[in-house]
């Protein structure tokens, strides 16, 4: 194991997969000469050259479609969105081309491509730069959606996503890039898609979450344990499609109570799907209604105090846990 940041873990994953497979290339805004807007691609231009690390014009729809066309002919593009906020411009190519190509060509034409970059809010970036975009991607069959919350998961899941034969939206977090953690040093450290991870075990209540919010859930769980002796179990989905339903159901059947925590909006958010699955498959085990902690149902405001009010945080998670435990 080696301690590294989430950013370094992603960088290692990219480097190793580009070394492993000559068909992998990286394209996006500022990925080459600038070393990446968030430095995730640092050093890759020097190592792999401009054929494989390509600065694109600011044309999200265009370079996304170009990536899809390259994937249709067998290359394995990694398309970096400076942030997923900008990917909204590219959604036609993601949804109408990438997600449907294999199906509408009757399996003749694949689309092994990774769209990656940060999603969700950072600090005071206001309405157009602070959106959690998971729902827009996970809604569409044909896509896979991966949301690592730790450096180790970032590395293992990015390697798996690049090797996967389908289009993958790989959603990082701007506020995660400096997060440090232990990462296995094995070159072949790959975390299969579709395997959730119980980040903390507990018997009293389940907090289910994904991406950046894993760390908020852990803060809440640790505080509940420290202050009140309550043992919350934190289930990190890690990938939203494919979804490890069994791990979620097993945990809920153990604790009989659950809260979904996510960064995005509530209405038809990821949590809406998860609570639907839980009531379908663990109804008789539930001792309380399922609650969700999400962003306020408003565009993200700029003012610091309003932004704090809009975002989910550990104390709101604790409040929700207390409610489902009738405390």
């Amino acid at each position: 194991m080696a301690e590294m940041t989430y950013r370094e873990a992603l960088n290692e994953a990219l480097r190793e997969e580009m070394e492993r497979d000559a068909d992998v290339f990286l394209m996006g805004e500022e990925v080459a000469e600038y070393d990446g807007a968030y430095k995730v691609s640092k050093g890759l231009l020097d190592e792999f050259g401009e054929r494989r690390v390509v600065d694109s014009p600011i044309s999200e729809l265009g370079f996304t479609g170009l990536g899809v066309g390259a994937a249709m002919t067998g290359l394995r593009p990694v398309i970096e969105f400076m942030t997923f906020n900008f990917s909204i411009l590219a959604l036609d190519q993601v949804i109408n081309s990438a997600a449907k190509m294999h199906y509408m060509s009757n399996g003749q034409i694949g689309c092994p491509i990774v769209f990656r970059g940060p999603t969700g809010a950072a600090l005071q970036l206001s309405a157009q730069h602070s959106q959690a975009c998971e729902t827009w991607y996970v809604h569409s069959p044909g896509l896979k959606v991966v949301t690592p919350g730790t450096p180790a998961d970032a590395k293992g899941l990015l390697k798996a996503s690049i090797r996967d034969d389908d289009p993958v939206a790989f959603m990082e977090g701007e506020l995660l890039y400096n997060l440090k953690g232990e990462v296995p040093e094995d070159d072949d450290f790959v975390i299969p898609l579709g395997v959730a991870d119980v980040k903390k075990e507990g018997d009293d209540v389940t907090i289910i979450t994904h991406g950046k919010m894993v760390n908020v859930a852990l803060q809440a769980a640790q505080k509940m344990e420290r202050d009140d002796g309550i043992m919350a179990e934190v289930v990190d989905l890690r990938t939203l499609r494919p979804l490890d339903v069994d791990t979620v159901i097993d945990s809920v059947r153990k604790t009989n109570r659950a809260v979904y925590l996510e960064e995005g909006w509530n209405y038809l958010g990821v949590g809406a799907q998860i609570v639907s699955l839980i009531q379908e498959e663990a109804f008789d085990w539930l001792d309380a209604p399922l609650l969700r902690v999400t962003q306020a149902d408003v565009p993200m405001p700029y003012a610091k105090n309003l932004e704090s009010l809009a975002k989910p945080n550990a104390s709101r998670v604790i409040e929700a846990c207390n409610r489902v435990m009738y405390r």
């Binding site: 066309g69 002919t73 190519q93 509408m104 979804l243």
Partner: protein
């Protein structure tokens, strides 16, 4: 003797655009097949054998024949949704195209694509795309692959004239130009985007649309298949020698409505206009006349060609009609190329075959 008077021999050469008589006769046969195929599709639609949208290429056959015939098998073609004849031109058997229109398992997309999504990776026909202009960046990407792998191949990307007002088109033009990608963008300029005359939605003509990206532009009379063929032979050679990308404004005309639900004339274009084009600008009639005049075709041969085209179209119809629809378990097949064994990929709660769980 003055030099501006062409000899009789020169005139013949000129109307043939340097295309050999054998090639010209083959182009005639190709176009006859496309015409008869589309007429058969029209007939099948009328009796409910084909559903959904169906966009016929009648009147524009010279574009499919003239642009694709000069290509190699290893070259790619990609198109929009008026692509039946282009798919056939690129080598997909007419019966597999017709079966796709009928929604049958034997169709070139297994019955899952339909009229607008014809695919055949073996023939390098890369679809059949239904969002106007969406195929332009895909073509850039295929060309990027070719360049990345240093292959001697190229892409021809067909677009309707309305596509030049889409952002995807302009972004693709820019990237293809910046990276010298081996692609020829072909605007099938039939003067109308659905029911809107192009001149009503653009201040400048199509031929100027790629100039701001410094892409060389050629204007071709698409109703003259020999001119089109000669131009694309030349352009393909240029792309292979490293001079790329290219942009071509192919002037053509749609003899039928935008789709099957659209009247041929009456709302956005007059009957006189359509009648005049059908009478004077039919690519098949024009080539026939050229070949007759050059003494390279006789009536008997023409009738023989047309008889074969009709027969092939009928065979395609019969094949499609006799083919089975896809099996029910095809519903969930091929949504994904890789079924990750650990997680759930489908969420509708329906019973489904094991492979899709």
């Amino acid at each position: 003797m003055t030099t501006d008077v062409a000899t009789e021999e020169d005139q013949v050469t000129d109307t043939m655009h340097g295309v050999k008589p054998d090639t010209a006769r083959q182009l005639l046969r190709d176009m006859l097949l496309y015409r008869r195929f589309e007429e058969k599709a029209e007939e099948a639609y009328a009796i409910g054998k084909i559903g959904g949208f169906c966009h016929l290429h009648i009147g524009q056959e010279g574009v499919a024949a003239g642009c694709i015939a000069p290509l190699r098998e290893s070259d790619y073609a990609i198109s929009a949704y008026r692509e039946h004849t282009q798919a056939i031109a690129k080598g997909i058997e007419p019966k597999r195209v017709m079966a796709e229109l009928f929604g049958r398992a034997a169709g070139c997309s297994g019955g899952k694509g339909g009229s607008m999504h014809l695919f055949d990776i073996e023939k390098r026909f890369m679809g059949g795309h239904g969002i106007v202009g969406g195929q332009a960046p895909l073509a850039s990407g295929i060309a990027f692959s070719i360049q990345y792998r240093k292959l001697d191949e190229l892409v021809v990307c067909f677009l309707g004239d309305a596509a030049v007002n889409q952002g995807a088109f302009h972004e693709a033009m820019n990237m293809s130009a910046v990276w010298d990608l081996p692609v020829i963008y072909v605007v099938e300029n039939n003067a109308y985007g659905m029911g809107t005359a192009f001149t009503r939605v653009s201040r400048n003509p199509i031929e100027e649309k790629a100039l701001s990206y410094a892409i060389p532009t050629t204007v071709v009379n698409g109703q003259d298949v020999l001119e089109t063929y000669a131009t694309f032979t030349d352009l393909a050679g240029k792309v292979r020698s490293g001079e790329a990308p290219h942009f071509v404004d192919v002037r053509t005309y749609r003899f039928k409505g935008h789709s099957m639900s659209d009247p041929v004339s009456g709302t956005y274009r007059s009957k006189d206009e359509v009648d005049s084009r059908v009478e004077n600008q039919d690519p098949i009639a024009l080539l026939r006349a050229t070949l007759f005049e050059a003494d390279e075709l006789d009536q008997e041969t023409l009738e023989d060609f047309d008889g074969q085209a009709k027969e092939t179209a009928q065979e395609a119809f019969d094949f499609a009609d006799a083919s089975d629809p896809p099996e029910a378990d095809a519903l969930y097949r091929d949504v994904y190329a890789e079924l990750n064994p650990n997680g759930r990929l489908f969420f509708d709660g329906l019973d489904r075959p094991d492979f899709a769980r």
